[in-house]
Symmetry: C2
Subunit: 109 residues, 2 copies
């Protein structure tokens, strides 16, 4: 099911992760699923939105910078980051940003 991250009133934080993949899976899909499950258990996790064509664009939402720092330092996540640099990604950007304003529409509501 597709759904938008159910984020609270701003301010909160967004980690914008854009990436290009190397060829082949090499355990990537399983890792991505595991990391999302782990991230969702972290204190301060607010949601996740993602899509990939040739470029992958993923945004995770967090309550504050400390939550982001703790997740970046998580042992399992650090190993995934290491494999990401070594095996899965040909390039990536991480942009840490503070969401100041949010609005939207749901025509189903």
């Amino acid at each position: 099911m597709t759904c938008f991250a159910d984020t609270p009133e701003p301010p909160y934080y967004a980690v914008i992760f854009t990436s290009t993949r190397t060829a082949g899976d090499h355990g990537y899909a399983e890792m991505a699923e595991n990391m999302l499950r782990l991230a969702a258990r972290q204190a301060g996790f607010l949601g996740f939105e993602s899509a990939r064509e040739e470029l992958g664009v993923s945004v995770s939402y967090w309550a504050d910078l400390d939550s982001i720092r703790r997740w970046k330092a998580d042992i399992a996540h650090r190993e995934a980051q290491r494999l990401g640099r070594a095996v899965w990604y040909s390039g990536y950007r991480v942009r840490i940003s503070k969401v100041e304003h949010e609005y939207g529409m749901d025509s189903s509501k």
Copy 2:
């Protein structure tokens, strides 16, 4: 060609636009191409990264909030926003955020 937005040193702004589409194209692909071309000509535009699966995740980067406001008020863009709400999107979120930190990797460099 896939490429990352060549953004400057932070701070700058990111508009995170996530959306779900209605069925059929109805001029969507042409509009999306036109809007990106128009946006890229606006003062303060810094870049664009996008992917769509069932959920579309697009991020445009801007020098400051005034550039974002001017682009939101652009006549052609306002018409596209109106058609987006009426025809193309079943739902969307717009999150305006200030990028505070950026890092990354290019294994080709």
